[in-house]
Amino acid sequence: MAIQLDARRVRSGESRPAGDGRDRLRRIGHSKTLIIMCLPAILFFLVFAYAPLPGSWIAFTNFNYHDGIFGSPFVGLRNFEFLAKSGQLWKLTRNTLLYNVAFIVLGNIVQIAVAIMLNEIRSKYFKKVSQAVMFLPYFISVVLVGVIAFNLLNYDTGALNALIERTGGDPIKIYSQAGLWPFIIVLFHLWQSTGYGSIVYFAAILSIDSTLFEAAAIDGASAWQRTRYVILPSLKPTFIILLLFSLGGIMRGNFGLFWNLVGNNATLYDTTDIIETSVYRMIISQNNFTTSTAVGLYQSLFGFALVMLCNWLVRRVNEDYALF
């Protein structure tokens, strides 16, 4: 992987125009067709990603439909002040970060473990079928994940409570116990993403030079030693790249999962509300565009700074792994 990234750097280095400005202009003129081929995509990102950017101004106004985005009264940082004072901003940041840290740490551990175990399985058929089944949860919509949660967890007819009652226990009101939900959400996340994530690690294990394994076998390495000294070090580059990508998105949440598991259930907000869900709720049910824009802008800026910081750190450790 590192080699591939290296090669890219060398190649893009070569492609940098050597001549003067006029030469460059001439070369651009020659690539008219290529520019046209990129045009639909450029237009797409211009319209749906860049054009909404100026709308972030709403975060500094007291927005109303009548005056529009730039006509509404300017209030400076008051929207942010309100968010910070109410404790809302802190709660959302804390939840978003903690969930993502749990997802990243547990996710990677489980994915690597599953990949190593898949690699130990000799039966081709068994491997193929189990891999396909583990991947299935990624394939379905989060709406169905919500249905599954309802089936398992609801108070009146949930499968879990049915089981508890059958064994003589008292049913639990799961949908009103905020303390349980971090576990539930993390479990559902792992359920949905492990098969998907382990594929990358599994491919990395398959690409390990087989002479390494042979040498380890000749030296009499145990299965544990083989895992510890051959497989895990070989997964390090993959792990670092994936980690960097996920750190860049650490301020973003898996909105669909959270919304379909929790939705508008206010008793759970303390432990389950993340930035995305609160912004969505503000727009859908309160028509509140000022606060939601302020939260969104805060998220974007914070996230952007984090990516830059991570990239800078990685660059210091090992330049090959840096994103840019």
Binding site: M117, S130, L144, V147, G296
Partner: protein, 295 residues
């Protein structure tokens, strides 16, 4: 027996066990839902959902198929969007991916960054919503959903990585023969990229098929036929949706087998894609391994 042999067997044994258990865990929820959908409502009310059907009854399915108007409409909307969205998105992504990896294209770094930057910094949901719904006037228009799902930066980068495996000589030979860039792309490159197109197309199709989020924002209740997953979302989350989608059945709400109906709706809305899954699964695997390395 050497110690390394023993530990080999131990690890292998544990591996079989853990992988089997995890595989079953991935499958169980699907069993739960199907079982519940063919259960008797009264039994569910009394004993709750379980792994095996409680009693056996197809009442829920009968309810759904007695007035299938909503469901069929949703299927038509989703299938139409999926087919056209995948085809158009795929063409655009392939063109862009090809152009961006051409080493003789001077703007490739600039355009690549233009696309990549959108993953680093974006306008939040609120400004985007106002822009698309109000300024572009797409509230209540299927286009708001259709257009926004056409491509993602990630899919373009994925395609770029795929195209890289097509030898540069192909393009060169096309140039020697005097073919233009678009002709080279259409006649020489595209036919060589079938696996890449299959994988990318599948990700696109899945995005359209599973879409409920943009629909909830931009369509809400303004359209008669909601995209399939959004239809399911409403059936699950609002009692009224269940009632209205069963309208014409001349039943009062209390008569509706609510629990089994929800589960049967889930089966009907998800079944076809799960049946298709075994045939397309392998394309995903290749996509994930290639796409894991961005850049």
């Amino acid at each position: 027996m050497r110690s390394s042999d023993k530990s080999d067997y131990a690890l292998r044994g544990v591996s079989y066990l853990v992988v089997t258990v995890f595989t079953i865990f991935c499958l169980l929820p699907f069993v739960l839902i199907v079982s519940a959908s063919v259960s008797e409502e009264s039994q569910i009310m009394e004993h709750g959902f379980g792994l095996l059907p409680r009693g056996f009854s197809l009442t829920a399915y009968e309810f759904i198929f007695k007035s299938p108007r909503q469901l069929i409409g949703s299927y038509v909307v989703t299938i139409t969007m999926t087919v056209f969205g995948t085809a158009i998105g795929l063409l655009i992504i392939a063109m862009t991916g090809y152009a961006l990896q051409r080493k003789d294209f001077p703007l490739r770094n600039g355009i690549s960054f233009f696309i990549y930057f959108t993953t680093l910094f974006s306008a939040g949901l609120a400004p985007t919503y106002l822009w698309v719904a109000r300024e572009l006037g797409l509230r209540g228009n299927y286009l708001a959903v259709f257009l926004q799902l056409l491509m993602t930066p990630w899919l373009i980068i994925l395609m770029k990585n795929f195209v890289r495996s097509v030898p540069n000589e192909i393009t060169e030979s096309g140039k020697v023969d005097g073919a233009g860039d678009f002709r080279i792309f259409l006649r020489l490159i595209l036919p060589m990229m079938k696996p890449a197109l299959a994988t990318t197309g599948l990700f696109l199709a899945l995005g359209y098929w599973n879409e409920w989020y943009l629909s909830s924002l931009y369509l809400g209740s303004t359209v008669e036929f909601k995209p399939l997953q959004y239809y399911l979302y409403n059936v699950i989350n609002t009692a009224n949706a269940l009632k209205s989608s069963m309208a014409g059945n001349n039943v009062t709400v209390t008569q509706l087998p609510t629990n089994t109906l929800k589960m049967a709706s889930a089966v009907v809305a998800t079944g076809p894609i799960v049946l298709l899954y075994p045939f397309v699964q392998r394309y995903f695997v290749s996509g994930i391994t290639v796409g894991a390395v961005k850049g």
